[in-house]
């Protein structure tokens, strides 16, 4: 088929964001604040890797250039990665981790809900399966944002600081590009403006319940994850994630 077209490009974005967010969650393994929380974080990470596999396998089939889903994940450099800048940001403290997760989940939830009705049947099927998982992710991260924002003085302060660190990266959740506009016109995905509207509504509601102030829309940023222009954080993350594959190419158990 060898189609490096808008859809393949968009599938990479979905898959890559899931991989990178999953990898960030893995960093909490052995370090989470409670055993229960650790299991929960790893469950979310595993869900995301499963979803990434579905998206990247579909991408690999479409590209048909000899690369497998694994190779797409483990053999591409940061310039070829299409993930959101938000998910590659360091975990910071638990407030930053949960706020990032929440912003991503809220976006992910609305994106997948719309993709369930995609004109592409395979996309719709993958989205429907992923949406069940993401509905729970959103419930969990919303709860945490509310607990921490409306918790103790310290947890509130940390959430305020987290908001200050993370908010600038939400600009990508609020605006589409040419690729997405064309796919939306073809009925494959929802219009980026619609997702932006829904995302902001969900985020505003939860932040309000968390006694946090919704900042004004983030101004445009000089980097763009979907164009492969990443912050310095992604290279380090990929270096660790891909180290085994790089040292022992095609190693098997």
């Amino acid at each position: 088929m060898n189609q490096y077209d808008d859809l393949s490009e968009y599938l990479l974005r979905l898959g890559d964001s899931a991989v990178v967010q999953g990898q960030r969650l893995c960093e909490w393994c052995g370090r989470a604040p409670a055993l229960e929380e650790e299991m929960a974080l790893m469950n979310v990470g595993l869900d995301l890797f499963g979803q990434a596999r579905n998206w990247l396998e579909f991408t690999a089939e479409r590209l048909d250039d000899g690369r497998s889903a694994d190779q797409l994940a483990f053999c591409r450099d940061e310039r070829a990665y299409r993930n959101l800048l938000l998910v590659e940001q360091p975990n910071g403290d638990f407030a930053v981790t949960m706020l990032k997760q929440f912003f991503y989940d809220a976006w992910h939830y609305h994106v997948l809900t719309a993709l369930k009705a995609s004109s592409d049947k395979r996309v719709a099927t993958i989205a429907a399966k992923a949406l069940k998982e993401v509905t729970y992710h959103l419930r969990r991260s919303s709860d945490w944002v509310q607990r921490l924002g409306d918790g103790t003085e310290e947890s509130h302060d940390r959430m305020v600081k987290a908001l200050d660190v993370v908010w600038r990266f939400t600009v990508e959740l609020m605006a589409g590009d040419e690729v997405e506009n064309r796919l939306a016109a073809a009925g494959v995905i929802a219009a980026p403006e619609l997702i932006a509207e829904q995302w902001l509504a969900t985020v505003s509601q939860v932040l309000e319940q968390a006694t946090l102030t919704v900042p004004p829309a983030a101004p445009s940023f000089y980097l763009s994850g979907r164009e492969g222009m990443h912050t310095e954080c992604l290279g380090v993350l990929l270096a660790e994630m891909q180290s085994l594959q790089r040292a022992y190419p095609d190693a098997v158990w």
């Binding site: 409670a34 229960e36 299991m39 929960a40 419930r139 969990r140 709860d143």
Partner: protein, 93 residues
């Protein structure tokens, strides 16, 4: 974490069966306890329904009363329905 409450977790493995005690979780409140229980005890398709109960709400029989409470039933075999001949029509029981 030290301020979290201990909850007992009960899972119903399928419709029509009883909820069964499977273990416990720590959580700040009942909402979080349900989520933690979901993540700890149903990740391999173990359940269709969850109950969580604050551990301190459970009244348990005392260990040192074990003999008085339970030993007397040991020699009352007639309480088992094992002295009746089952008619063949009853089948498995």
């Amino acid at each position: 974490m030290s301020e979290w409450t201990l909850f007992e977790v009960f899972v119903r493995s399928k419709h029509g069966l009883n909820h069964k005690h499977v273990g416990s979780v720590h959580a700040a409140d009942t909402d979080m306890a349900l989520e933690n229980a979901r993540d700890l005890y149903t990740r391999r398709s173990e359940g269709v329904s969850l109950w969580i109960v604050p551990s301190n709400m459970i009244t348990a029989s005392a260990t040192d009363e074990k003999e008085a409470l339970f030993d007397p039933s040991d020699d009352k075999v007639y309480r088992h329905a094992s002295f009746y001949k089952l008619p063949d029509e009853v089948g498995h029981m």
